[in-house]
């Protein structure tokens, strides 16, 4: 096996383009995936036409809420490009300079104050189906956030007005009498008067007024709580079922390293085995010089060693920028080693079945790329049946198990490293057996 290993290293050294591609391509791909995962979605550029007159307010009882605050809420969710008119905003959308335009109409305040006609915004967008879907969902989210913020302000103003009605005081409305009595103060005041009032129809009238004031004060006090509930009926409490929370950037590192591990391991092993057949040397080797099992083990180990070295170098390099826990390095090495050998076994199976280098490389690419993406599909993002099918595919190939092992090793994520390592060992045996079957015929 030693001479075969030396021969393969020599061939690898002489195939500089292949070597460069094997390292540069997966690393570049891994970095792109890592960047895509770790970066939060960027805020979309949206043109905003605010037609409301400056300083316009919505009257809520004695309180006034500035309409411009709604626009500010909306602006915090998007990158705002202020436009003076609707026509200009439409032009910006058509030219693709902004994803969409939002027109805040002149009568927004009037409609908000009125209980008859609801306030309406106009959203203008363009683009293909994908872009439209993105714009719709992004803007819906931004508008929902803005609506929530604005309704909280209105709710606060309404709560202040209710407090004033209950407790009394000075109302800041032009022409309002000073030092108004509060609803809750009416029953005790009336009780004092009633104590001096002789029985008769006037006293009964005053008693009715007093009980109404008491009842109204009680219920108005309750309405504050109701207002709070209506403005945010459901609040969210997050609970992580198991494991500790993995920071997005270190998970991105794990994904990027796993992708590199897979590409190098699978491609090198598949190409190595297929090359023996393509050069027609396989027939020479297996006539008693090398057993098929040894040949497969040699190819799988060589590719595993190469992918292991590159992946570990990536982890070590990335740790200069992202805080990784070096005290867990033993677990990193175990996860990388098992993953590398499992990918090597998958590679030799592909190489043995594909029979020529081009077909083996193509098959390795066609298989690896979707495997990586399927393993990253989150539960609940697709229909249950499809997710189950994805789960079966991910279980049958080493990427997901390798990702879980490395995530557990680097981030202490759940499941613990034991079960993915056992899973990887099982896949090694499975793919090694498949490779042996594929190598039964050597011509």
């Amino acid at each position: 096996m030693r001479w075969l290993l030396l021969k393969d290293l020599l061939i690898l050294r002489r195939s500089r383009l292949l070597l460069a591609m094997l390292i540069v391509y997966p690393v570049a791909l891994a970095l792109l995936i890592g960047l895509a995962i770790s970066r939060s979605p960027s805020r979309p550029r949206v043109a905003v036409v605010d037609e409301t007159p400056p300083g316009q307010t919505v009257q809520v009882g004695s309180e006034r809420v500035q309409v411009s605050q709604y626009a500010q809420q909306l602006f915090s969710q998007v990158v705002t490009v202020r436009e003076p008119s609707r026509a200009r905003a439409v032009q910006q959308v058509q030219q693709g300079r902004v994803l969409a335009a939002v027109v805040i109409p002149r009568d927004l305040a009037a409609r908000l104050s009125s209980s008859i006609a609801p306030a309406r915004l106009e959203v203008i967008y363009n683009g293909d189906a994908l872009e439209q879907s993105l714009v719709r969902s992004t803007l819906n989210s931004a508008l929902a956030q803005a609506n929530l913020g604005f309704s909280e302000q209105i709710q606060q103003a309404a709560a202040k007005a209710i407090d004033l009605l209950l407790a009394g005081g000075n109302v800041e409305i032009l022409g309002a009498p000073p030092n108004l009595i509060g609803l809750s103060q009416i029953p005790p005041a009336l009780h004092e008067i009633l104590a001096r009032q002789p029985p008769g129809p006037e006293r009964r009238q005053l008693e009715r007024i007093s009980s109404f004031a008491g009842f109204a004060a009680q219920n108005l006090s309750l309405s504050k709580t109701v207002l709070q509930t209506v403005s945010q009926p459901i609040q969210v409490k997050s609970t992580l079922l198991h494991g500790r929370r993995t920071p997005l950037n270190t998970f991105a590192v794990v994904v990027a390293v796993s992708v590199s591990l897979m590409f190098i391991g699978v491609l090198l092993a598949a190409g190595g085995v297929a090359l023996e057949r393509e050069e027609r040397v396989l027939v020479r080797l297996v006539r008693g010089l090398v057993t098929r099992e040894r040949l497969l083990v040699e190819k799988a180990l060589l590719s595993a060693a190469c992918s292991f070295v590159v992946a570990f170098a990536m982890l070590a390099g990335v740790s200069a920028f992202v805080a990784l826990d070096w005290s867990r390095v033993g677990l990193w090495l175990a996860a990388l080693a098992f993953g590398a050998v499992a990918f090597g076994a998958l590679g030799v199976a592909i190489g043995a079945l594909a029979r020529e280098v081009r077909a083996a490389s193509l098959l390795a690419f066609l298989l690896s790329l979707p495997l990586a993406f399927l393993a990253l599909v989150p539960a609940g993002s697709v229909a249950v049946g499809i997710y189950d099918a994805i789960g079966v595919v991910s279980f049958a190939f080493p990427f997901k198990a390798s990702l879980e092992a490395l995530d557990a090793a680097v981030n202490g994520a759940s499941p613990s490293i034991g079960s993915p390592l056992v899973h990887l060992a099982g896949l090694m045996v499975l793919f090694a057996a498949l490779a042996r079957v594929g190598l039964r015929r050597v011509d």
């Binding site: 021969k7 061939i11 002489r14 027609r280 040397v281 027939v283 020479r284 297996v286 010089l289």
Partner: protein, 254 residues
């Protein structure tokens, strides 16, 4: 029809004895009870139409395939020599390695006692010494075939099985190859001669270089004798091996 050709008279015991070899691929019978012996110093041509079973027979002798029936007997390798060397029809070489690196790798895999010495000898024998450091991918078809044959010979085998060794060569390269192979076979036993068993479609080569010819058709051995005896079996009355071969096959119903 099978012609009971007279086996070549030889005082020496056979170094290879093929006994009732059969090979089946599914429903197809590629070889049927093929038997013959090879003695030291022989140049045995295996001829036959396409699909006759020539490559299958040589692959079984080389150990690449297992026979479905029969046995291949060969005495134990003497003085560390390999028993059967083999060169497939298309050169089986690592194109990114040089001539010397290919030879050295296979000398080591064959566990040759002195790999470097064997490589030097083989480079000398095949006239490839000046191309020793050239990568195989840069060699001409003829030189690749010489390296291919050299790999079959690297363990100094007693029998060399060659599958259509001259098919990709021009006439000049073919002549040089046969000169080399003839020299191998003509060496005395003391000088460690190598018997050569080769398949070919060039009947001129059989006439010129082979000491013996075996005719296969549909997996059946139809003739085993000298080229002159094959001409006689064709009953054409002239020194035309190709004509005699075609006539012989027709007479046998092929």
């Amino acid at each position: 029809m099978k012609v009971d050709a007279e086996p070549p008279a030889s005082a020496e015991p056979p170094i290879l004895s093929v006994q009732g070899i059969g090979k089946r691929f599914g429903a197809r019978q590629a070889l049927r009870a093929v038997s013959f012996d090879v003695t030291p110093g022989e140049l045995v041509a295996v001829v036959g139409p396409n699909g006759a079973g020539k490559t299958t027979l040589l692959s079984i002798l080389a150990g690449v395939q297992r026979p479905s029936a029969g046995t291949v007997l060969s005495p134990a390798s003497a003085e560390g020599r390999g028993v059967i060397g083999w060169a497939p029809q298309a050169p089986a070489l690592y194109s990114k390695l040089s001539v010397e690196e290919n030879l050295l790798l296979f000398a080591r895999l064959e566990k040759v006692a002195d790999p470097e010495g064997a490589v030097a000898r083989m480079l000398e024998h095949t006239g490839l010494r000046e191309r020793a450091r050239d990568r195989v991918e840069l060699l001409s078809g003829g030189n690749r075939q010489r390296v291919n044959v050299a790999l079959g010979l690297i363990a100094d085998p007693q029998v060399l099985a060659l599958d259509e060794p001259s098919s990709a060569l021009d006439p000049r390269q073919r002549a040089r190859l046969w000169e080399f192979l003839g020299a191998l076979a003509r060496r005395s036993a003391a000088a460690r001669s190598t018997s050569v068993l080769f398949s070919t479609h060039h009947l001129g080569e059989v006439r010129r270089y082979a000491t013996r010819a075996i005719v296969l058709a549909d997996g059946e051995l139809l003739f085993d004798g000298t080229p002159a005896e094959l001409i006689a079996a064709g009953d054409r009355g002239e020194d035309d091996l190709e004509g005699a071969f075609v006539a012989f096959l027709a007479e046998c119903g092929h």
